[in-house]
């Protein structure tokens, strides 16, 4: 009994293959679309700002005079923010993911925390700004120092890190865990030696996206209140500060007062993008080195 008519199949096959080939190019175009926009954006920013990047600009202090202004203070501010954000989000994020995926057996509690996290991931950054202002700046009386900003940004990106880490843990095949438990390994040993190494690349992907976001985030910092003019460099996480995106924000806003500020903003964007690029490259190198299909 033949159900498949070979001639029909043959005929259809050509359309199927053509469809596949055409869509392949559409998919490629879709991928490239984003890159084209990015190229235009970067081109505009570069042509506007590249002429203003020089050593004085990079290492100089902030100034209201466009000819003198430098962004070392903002670079250091961003640096100290990351010193707070990176360890906190990685430790708490991966910890929470491990707890939810591997320790919490009670489905109700698990699903409660999970719902809570995915909801937090959707809470707009400006709301975190209000939270940070109320809790860190005012209630704990930190003032608008790096620590307050860093903690606020940490809370903001934590859900992203948690969700990505969970996905990565889930992608580790169950039979690897079985093999480890079968050797008499304890839960923590299995996590540390099998699950974490296998899941780390996926965790890094999520963390990269999260940190990129934290570095470029403006809205919560505006709510926390970053001085528009602060000249001394921050020397630690307890100092007041400005950060690169804040500087871009202020300069773009004030470009209607001083035209050159728009160029300074463009130059600062270049620096910020470069910073993100370096950070991403390092992390992606790590990720590619370990990525594995089972």
């Amino acid at each position: 009994m033949k159900y498949l008519d070979l001639k029909q199949v043959q005929k259809r096959l050509n359309t199927r293959i053509v469809k596949n080939n055409i869509l392949q190019y559409i998919f490629l175009l879709a991928t490239i679309f984003g890159l084209i926009v990015l190229a235009i954006l970067i081109f505009r920013v570069f042509t506007q700002g590249i002429g203003f990047i020089n050593l004085d600009f990079l290492t100089g202090r902030l100034s209201t005079d466009a000819n003198r202004a430098g962004i070392m203070g903002a670079i250091l501010g961003t640096f100290w923010l990351m010193v707070v954000v990176i360890p906190i989000t990685l430790i708490i994020g991966i910890g929470t993911a491990l707890y939810l995926e591997l320790y919490q057996k009670n489905g109700r509690i698990q699903s409660f925390i999970q719902t809570n996290i995915s909801n937090l991931a959707g809470v707009p950054s400006i709301v975190y700004g209000i939270l940070g202002l109320t809790i860190f700046v005012r209630a704990l009386d930190f003032g608008n120092i790096v620590l307050a900003g860093g903690l606020t940004l940490s809370l903001l990106v934590l859900p992203i890190v948690i969700v990505a880490s969970q996905e990565a843990i889930r992608a580790v095949p169950q039979h690897l865990n079985e093999a480890s438990y079968g050797m008499g390994a304890t839960k923590w040993q299995t996590i540390r030696r099998i699950i974490l190494p296998a899941a780390l690349p996926g965790m890094l992907t999520g963390s990269i996206l999260a940190l990129s976001r934290a570095i470029g985030e403006t809205a919560p910092l505006t709510v926390i209140g970053i001085p528009a003019l602060i000249i001394p460099f921050p020397e630690g996480i307890f100092d007041k500060f400005t950060a690169l995106p804040m500087q871009i924000y202020y300069w773009t806003l004030d470009s209607s007062l001083v035209d050159e500020y728009a160029n300074l903003a463009a130059a600062t964007i270049i620096v910020l993008l470069l910073l993100l690029f370096i950070l991403n490259s390092v992390a992606i190198l790590i990720r590619n080195k370990f990525q594995q299909r089972y």
Partner: protein, 317 residues
């Protein structure tokens, strides 16, 4: 440790060594008990965050509703917080938020998923390793940059094609927001699709399936929960996006479905009020919290809905 002669099978008395070590393994049993507790505390931080947000927003929102009735707030189509006879209807803001998010997702959804398909199913390893990080750069561009990009580049282009579009409008920031969200959807969907085991793809190819067929009929269904999760994050990002809309859509509080018009989103309203001259204790100051609370509840409801959907489609392999 003494090594026995060749003839003896047990050159290393592993079993004895393990017994030996076990006695000193009380430490590790402490670890085993301590770890869950520590991890539990970590997990509690996200709960505390939510409590913190609700507590912060709620107390001020209550104050607001003492002055403005819920009915007016939720059904009013007029928002003139500073005029002599202020109106506090949130509908214009809700409308602006929904419009911009829908436009953004119409851009980011299809393009993001297509990019994910390309990267996961069609691109060679080499190409993927180059393209994916490049795409991720898009997500790292500060939103303030996108805002001025929308206002000074995209809007003029749109206006040259479609002259009715205003200098400030919801269409342009919506599109740019979509572009910003593409990498988030592409990257996370690609991760979900990549973790579908290769053996399953092989099964499809062995039946004569084209890549397209194996992708749409096997890989995507298998990765659906991850893909939906990426959409949720994308939508949340669109709803919460502040700077782009603030700059490119202006601050008119229009209640309309006309894409060509300026509209204000909830987030932009918060920025406007928070950075403005509203004295603490005034109704408009409290309205900031009421809008923030609405925004919060809005994302809560949407996430619960999306979670329900994603769980329904979850596949095990």
């Amino acid at each position: 440790m003494t090594t026995n002669s060749e003839s003896n099978q047990n050159t290393v008395p592993v079993r004895e060594m393990i017994e030996e070590k076990k006695k000193s393994r009380n430490l590790s049993s402490v670890t085993e008990k301590l770890v869950p507790t520590i991890l539990f505390l970590f997990a509690m931080i996200s709960i505390l965050t939510t409590i913190g947000i609700i507590w912060t927003l709620f107390s001020e929102t209550v104050e607001f509703f003492k002055r403005v009735s819920m009915t007016e707030f939720f059904t009013g189509t007029e928002l003139n917080p500073l005029s002599q006879n202020p109106d506090f209807g949130i509908l214009p803001l809700l409308n602006g938020t929904i419009m911009s998010s829908v436009i953004a997702m119409l851009v980011a959804g299809p393009i993001g998923i297509m990019a994910a398909i390309y990267l996961s199913e069609y691109a060679s390893d080499r190409v993927r390793r180059v393209l994916k990080p490049m795409l991720e750069v898009l997500a790292g561009v500060p939103t303030i940059v996108y805002g001025f990009f929308a206002f000074t580049f995209v809007t003029p282009i749109i206006r040259s094609i479609w002259p009715e579009v205003g200098a400030t409008n919801i269409l342009s920031p919506g599109i740019v927001m979509g572009i910003m969200i593409i990498p988030m959807i592409a990257s996370l969907s690609e991760d979900a699709m990549s973790s579908v085991p290769n053996s399953i793809r092989e099964g499809a190819f062995a039946l004569g399936a084209t890549r397209l067929e194996s992708t749409f009929k096997v890989v995507i269904p298998a990765a659906l929960s991850g893909i939906i999760a990426s959409f949720i994050l994308g939508i949340s990002r669109a709803i919460g996006e502040t700077m782009i809309v603030t700059i490119a859509s202006g601050s008119s509080k229009n209640f309309t479905f006309d894409l060509t018009q300026s509209m204000q989103t909830m987030t932009a309203y918060i920025v406007e009020v928070a950075g403005g001259e509203a004295p603490a204790g005034s109704t408009i100051y409290f309205s900031l919290y009421a809008v923030a609370m609405t925004l919060f509840v809005f994302t809560l409801i949407m996430n619960l809905l999306a979670r329900y959907v994603s769980r329904k489609f979850r596949e095990e392999y």
